[in-house]
């Protein structure tokens, strides 16, 4: 018993007061402090507390071998956690972690538990990984398998420098602090390998991830905000695939009319507006959680609640690039469709797009393949899907937004335009010769445009059933909620 108490004491006080002060001096929290903020008070159940590195002579200093694993509750729901512990070898992972991590993963899989990563560390421990045995690492070290249907949700918080961030790549929701960075490799290795001199911030700082890569869903000022964000995001998600997320009463009537939408969305097709205002008007009050707001700003994505139930959101943003679909938007939409597919979450799509961005750069970036793959992906989800065409739904872009999905429900506002390509572009291509020969090309274009505008109105699609209904904008909230109710899966 005395030896048990001695070892537990060592494990509880790794690095001593010095390690705590060092972390605080850098503006960071220790791993146990982070877990205090993440989990419900008193709910933490550590796993493998006496596990240590391969080196027996360092056993007392390496308990956990750079990670704290275990279980606890968030708002009463069980989760598993995996927290880097920089008090041990900078939070890096060594070969000894494999067996321990495998056992932990088995429990997570078996119980189909949500898994939350709190990451700050050096990735693989280079000196201990300099062995041909490293070949085993990619099989065991790249996170939990998404095994269906035993698939819990994954959330990752990056709270410092973090390399080889597989658990960001696989996360259903990820957040990082402004001062943290993630990248596959570290600046010194970049320099040795390529001669390129970069800072960690340039390589994968928060701003890079927020604006350039879109690999992170949210950037927040500090760790307290990051851990609070994880708790908030988890509140929108089910514990695992196949069950419902918690229902949260937002005190917002499902029958609330939204006449303010008349003023938010301009009738003129080329006038910009902020689709976030449409979203926040339609969904339950204060329930919208936006993903990657600085990346691919022509598409707005996120989570919200309608009548207390979680919905995924994707919406064209006319305020940026007129809301076109480009390769960045496809990357951003991919996340939402994957969540819809894998977690069986309902999807609300708000369409106002002039089409796919028709530039040489987009073609060279492979937008065709990206759109094709996205088109396949959008038909996968069997979760309830509701689409509302607010104003414009043009070309393949409307399909990319889940419009007209035969398994979903598609509404349109009365003044919307749905067509193969933009009206003016259509006129200029189809009637090119007539326009060239016309004495008054401008008048002819206007005349022809009016004709095509008439056929692009929603009525003909509604008459043949390709649109499920044309709805008054003020009715949007109640109609969407009702559509989700009738298509919701009964579990």
């Amino acid at each position: 018993m005395a030896e048990l108490h001695r070892r537990r004491n060592c494990a509880d006080n790794l690095g001593g007061v010095v390690a705590v002060e060092r972390a605080h001096a850098r503006g960071l929290l220790t791993a146990p402090e982070r877990l205090e903020l993440l989990l419900d008070p008193g709910s933490r159940v550590p796993f493998g507390t006496l596990f240590h590195s391969d080196n027996l002579s360092q056993a007392d200093e390496t308990f956990g071998d750079g990670e704290l694993d275990g279980f606890g509750t968030i708002d009463g729901r069980w989760v598993a956690y995996f927290a880097s512990d920089p008090r041990v070898k900078g939070g890096s992972g060594g070969p000894a972690d494999f067996l321990h991590a495998e056992t932990f993963r088995n429990i997570v899989e078996k119980a189909a538990l949500p898994l939350i990563y709190l990451m700050q560390g050096g990735g693989a421990r280079i000196d201990e990984a300099m062995s041909s045995q490293f070949i085993a690492f990619p099989a065991t070290g790249m996170g939990v398998r998404k095994v269906f249907p035993r698939r819990g949700v994954f959330l990752t918080a990056v709270l410092g420098s973090y390399y080889a961030p597989w658990n960001v790549a696989q996360a259903d929701f990820s957040v990082m602090t402004e001062s943290s960075n993630i990248s596959l490799t570290a600046p010194p290795l970049v320099y040795v390998g390529t001669g390129q001199q970069v800072t960690a911030e340039e390589l994968g700082g928060a701003q890079v991830q927020a604006r350039v890569t879109g690999q992170i869903d949210a950037v927040v000022p500090d760790e307290v905000a990051a851990l609070a964000m994880v708790r908030v995001a988890f509140g929108y998600l089910p514990s695992r695939a196949g069950i419902d997320p918690p229902i949260v009463d937002c005190g917002d009537s499902p029958d609330r009319s939204c006449p303010e939408l008349y003023d938010i969305v301009p009738t003129a097709l080329n006038r910009a507006y902020d689709v976030r205002r449409v979203i926040t008007t339609i969904v339950d009050r204060n329930s919208f959680l936006e993903f990657s707001p600085e990346f691919a700003r022509n598409l707005v994505t996120g989570l919200a609640r309608m009548n207390g139930r979680t919905v995924l959101l994707i919406a064209n943003q006319p305020k940026f690039l007129a809301g076109v679909i480009d390769s960045g938007a496809v990357i951003k939409a991919k996340k939402i469709f994957n969540l819809c597919n894998e977690l069986d979450l309902p999807l609300l799509s708000l369409v106002d797009t002039p089409g796919v961005l028709p530039t040489k750069e987009q073609e060279h970036r492979g937008v065709m393949t990206a759109l094709y793959e996205h088109g396949i992906r959008r038909f996968r989800p069997t979760a309830p899907k509701v689409t509302v065409v607010l104003r414009k739904g043009v070309g393949f872009a409307i399909g990319a937004m889940s419009g007209g999905d035969p398994e979903g429900i598609t509404f349109a506002w009365p003044n919307s335009q749905i067509c193969f390509t933009g009206v003016e572009a259509c006129v200029r291509v189809v009637h090119r010769r007539e326009i060239e020969e016309s004495d008054d090309p401008s008048a002819l274009i206007t005349e022809l445009s009016e004709r095509y505008t008439g056929t692009s109105a929603p009525w003909s699609a509604a008459h043949v059933g390709y649109l499920d209904d044309v709805i008054d904008p003020a009715e949007t909230r109640m109609r969407v909620i009702r559509a989700f109710e009738v298509t919701r899966r009964h579990r």
């Binding site: 018993m1 796993f47 493998g48 078996k110 035993r150």
Partner: protein, 479 residues
């Protein structure tokens, strides 16, 4: 005369006929020879079920091969139907040894198939009360040279498949042939001293009694057998909700930190399990297996221990295979508590031991229910592979501070050595992740309860499909 008056009249020929049929059954029961400690099929049913809950299937059935009007063959030798035990619905089959001295009559076969099929669909446990006596194939007299009705037995019976309902058997007499085959596939078998199962005719069958571990539980008489079936039904999870908990009770004598190494099996069970929750199948010095509850979580278990290191023998590994089987079929968590030095060398040389060990290993590996291990003393080879090897998918392994974990029995392989010289208690094993936790004795029950709770969260999710190469085939979401 109105129709209503007509059908209520005692002169009604239909009612008269019904009364006559029922009278014949009563007469048959009244003439039944009585043997002390032996109940009739209907008495067994009444002793098992909640009063008034029996709904009989085919109460007027009779043999179609007899010409005596059915008076000698009530129910065609198989009383069948549905009832409740502790409020939980069950299906019932009870054989009558006095009817044609057989269990495979044609009409009875139809009833059995209906009960098996409806139970499979609804997930209702089946209680089979077997008493086939001599087991003659009277339904298919060989001297008549016909196969009348034989096709009825060539239909697939939904037994033993993963989706089949739990089959619980009480054996009250000799059971021979197909009935014995069926009962050998049961998930739980309790037998009286008069019971035996055999595929071959009676003159070749073994003597009644415990057939070398074939029965999970051997008891004195009918009432004790039925009482154990009642206890089994109240101790296993509901098929509808595998996570359903019983009432959490305190242990009889909670473990405290004064517990010494090599504590008795009784001390360990009394300290870990809820008081009154144990239904033990095999109960020998140094080894107990059965089902029980830990803070209300119903589990299948095997416990080894005692003042002298235990070595697992043939009947021990058979019993381990049986509780693992229950764990798999009923999705009950499996708990091993071990203080064992491995296998008994005398038994381990026997092919029979190896065959039963292979069955046990297979059952332990296959069960997808939570699997937890507590090492209380010797955990050599983690108490032999069958009781805790990671390769069998143990989810959570913990040990007491004085446990000795080593790859093999230190004393046996290093004569003269003191175990402490060669192994480092549980510390190295815990340091390398072979153990997940070292706990004080007073913490063991709560720690086990916590991980039972966590691991049971996934009990109602189907296990992932695995292909022949051992890879998950369900990794790719279904489109």
């Amino acid at each position: 005369m109105s129709e209503e008056a007509h059908v209520s009249s005692t002169e009604d020929p239909g009612r008269q006929r019904l009364e006559m049929e029922r009278e014949a059954i009563r007469d048959f029961e009244a003439c039944r020879p009585r043997v002390e400690g032996v109940l009739s099929p209907r008495e067994r049913i009444q002793a098992l079920i909640d009063p008034g809950s029996f709904l009989e299937l085919g109460s007027l059935t009779r043999s179609q091969q007899q010409s005596d009007g059915g008076g000698s063959t009530p129910a065609d030798g198989l009383v069948a139907g549905w009832a409740t035990v502790h409020g939980r619905e069950i299906a019932l089959l009870a054989e009558d040894p006095l009817v044609l001295k057989m269990t495979d009559a044609q009409v009875a076969g139809d009833k059995r198939l209906r009960i098996l099929n409806t139970s499979a669909i609804r997930g209702v446990p089946i209680v089979y009360m077997a008493d086939g006596q001599e087991g003659e194939w009277a339904g298919f007299p060989v001297d008549r040279g016909d196969l009348f009705g034989y096709h009825r037995y060539q239909r697939t019976e939904p037994v033993s498949s993963e989706l089949a309902a739990p089959l619980i058997t009480a054996v009250f007499g000799r059971c021979v042939g197909r009935a014995a085959e069926l009962l050998m596939e049961a998930d739980f078998v309790v037998s009286t001293q008069r019971g035996s199962l055999s595929i071959v005719p009676s003159e070749l069958a073994s003597e009644p009694g415990d057939q070398d571990g074939l029965f999970d539980l051997l008891v004195e008489d009918d009432r004790e057998a039925i009482a154990n079936v009642r206890k089994f039904l109240s101790s296993t999870p509901s098929t509808d909700d595998p996570r359903a908990l019983g009432t959490a009770e305190m242990p009889r004598r909670p473990l405290d930190d004064s517990l010494l190494p090599h504590a008795s099996v009784d001390d360990v069970i009394d300290g870990l399990f809820d008081e009154g929750s144990i239904l033990s199948f095999r109960n020998q010095p140094g080894f107990v297996s059965g089902i029980g509850a830990i803070t209300g979580h119903r589990v299948a278990f095997a416990v080894t221990g005692g003042p002298t290191p235990h070595l697992l023998n043939t009947l021990d590994v058979t019993a381990i295979g049986r509780v693992a089987h229950l764990s798999r079929r009923l999705r009950m968590p499996l708990v091993f508590v071990q203080d064992a030095d491995g296998y008994d060398p005398a038994a381990a040389r026997s092919p029979e031991f190896l065959r039963r060990l292979a069955v046990a290993l297979d059952e332990v590996r296959k069960t997808w229910a939570p699997k937890l291990v507590l090492v209380t003393g010797h955990g050599h080879v983690l108490g032999s592979f069958v009781m805790g090897g990671r390769q069998l998918g143990m989810d959570y392994v913990m040990a007491l501070p004085f446990a000795q974990i080593a790859p093999r029995d230190v004393v046996a392989f290093h004569p003269g050595a003191i175990p402490g010289d060669l192994v480092d208690g549980p510390w190295v094993a815990a340091g390398f992740g072979h153990l997940d936790e070292v706990v004080a004795p007073s913490e063991a029950r709560q720690q086990m309860a916590t991980f039972l709770q966590i691991l049971s969260l996934g009990l109602d999710v189907p296990p992932p499909e695995v292909d022949r190469r051992g890879r998950y085939v369900a990794d790719i979401p279904k489109v």
